[in-house]
Amino acid sequence: MKTVDSIEVVVAAIEDVTPLIKRFTLRKISGGLLPPFSGGCHVTVVMRGGERTFRNPYSLLGSPRNLDSYEIAVRRDDQGRGGSLFMHQLVTVGTRLEISHPINLFPLSKLARKQILIAGGVGITPVLAMIDDLSAGPIDWELHYSFRGTEHACFGTWLSKRHGDRVRLYDTAAGQRIDFATLVGQQPLGTHLYVCGPSQMTVEAFESARAAGWPESHLHTEQFAPPPVGVAFEVHLAKSEQTVQVSAEQSLLEALEAAGIDAPYLCRSGACGRCELNVVELDGELIHNDHWLTAEDRISGRKIMPCVSRAKCKRLVLDW
């Protein structure tokens, strides 16, 4: 099954939001409106950079009511694999890019009685569009946004102006911290908690919520973590009878794509389950880095999520 139908866009504007974050405005090359979307959506941006093609997910942060353009924000990561540097250094106004249709793996619960959003740093991006949806609806909500230093406060100040008391800002450089325990301790039944930020923040927020008795069904997060590196190995595809080398820096999925194989994917973060492949044979061990497979799946050694997981072996045979 063909998995991704892409949209051709052109970069219409680039703006420095903070010293590390740039905002890109994307318009359809053919003109006209882009597809509507919902708060929490991301698009996968395809970056064809010389030898390597990056496919990075970025949240849509503009208003779902403005479909003339999409906006994404990219935080520069000098130690990263190169996708954010590509966006910061090689993309200019007028650059053409290919993006996926919007995908929402971080949706708001429509039945919540109250919504609490927690964002840290560049994790604010999906939250911006979520707030746009929330402010048009009847459900009570509040945002707690933490960032480091006033030069990084740009999104927060803007939100604060628009939404007043619903938005609380925390500048960690000034020693301000979100008091998670107090925050989650006194919320009415039916409240949902959404966290988007550094993994440490998510852990802290969720641990506080669990300690206060919150069940998992009310806790939501989205993290776009790059696939971990490892050692190189060889993959053989049993059905299509192809052999592909996975380098230490590459994810298994990227290696398959580089070999021209149309493998399925959605989140590229090990969360959604779309890219699951069946293992036929293995002369080593699987290194699972996903949040999708069950403990049983892992023990069975029969399944792998190639977007983030890899193998420590000479040869892995997949049912493809």
Binding site: L111, R113, P188, L189, G213, W214, P215
Partner: protein, 199 residues
């Protein structure tokens, strides 16, 4: 010739104290009191626990006195199911995240309590259900939209439209009822064998 062996009935479990919760609300009806008596010794003394109970039931099993005798700090005994459900609604309105709801009683009572809980967006990981006592069902007639309680046979005469209904094993949480559809529509008078109880 409706299909009799449809499988979408609710799955019940035995109530067990859930230590991941912070507040614990037990709601019992009739024989459901047995479940409350059974879990009582398992409950930590420090836990924040409230109990709502009504002895009103088809089986006549009223355990109000037994429950009153086992030292709950917050026990409310009500004379009717309606009053118990009303109290449940009021308590949930005031409740905080971290609450666990435990319901024990007849299928009809559990269903009605779940309808209340749904208004507060309680999910399956915040709610336990234990079936005790009568297996009588609430049946919803798809033809005239009348529900009737305490149905104990596979075929029942609809109070609303007078048709013989076959009770299907298909359950709606929204209506808190099993589906009833005309049993002899294809050949009038040709009814399946009448059976007591639901296996």
């Amino acid at each position: 010739m409706l299909v009799p062996d449809v499988k979408s009935r609710p799955q019940y479990q035995q109530l067990r104290f859930d230590p991941s919760g912070r507040f614990h609300l037990f709601v019992g009806q009739g024989d459901g009191g047995l479940a409350l008596l059974r879990v009582r010794p398992e409950l930590p003394e420090s836990a924040e626990i409230r109990v709502i109970y009504t002895g009103e039931s088809l089986t006549g099993c009223d355990l109000s006195e037994e429950l009153a005798g086992c030292g709950w700090r917050q026990l409310k005994v009500l004379t009717t199911q309606v009053a118990a459900l009303q109290m449940l609604d009021e308590v949930l309105e005031q409740s905080l995240m971290g609450t666990r709801l435990y319901v024990a009683g007849s299928e009809g009572f559990i269903g009605a309590a779940e309808q209340v809980a749904a208004r507060y967006n309680l999910q399956s990981d915040e709610l336990q259900r234990e079936h005790q006592g009568s297996s009588a069902r609430r049946v919803f007639c798809v033809h005239c939209q009348t529900s009737q309680d305490d149905v104990t046979t596979n075929i029942v005469l609809c109070r609303g439209c007078g048709r013989h209904l076959l009770v299907r094993d298909h359950y709606s949480r929204r209506l808190a009822a099993f589906m009833g559809g005309m049993a002899d529509a294809e050949v009038p008078g040709c009814l399946p064998e009448l059976r007591e109880g639901f296996g």
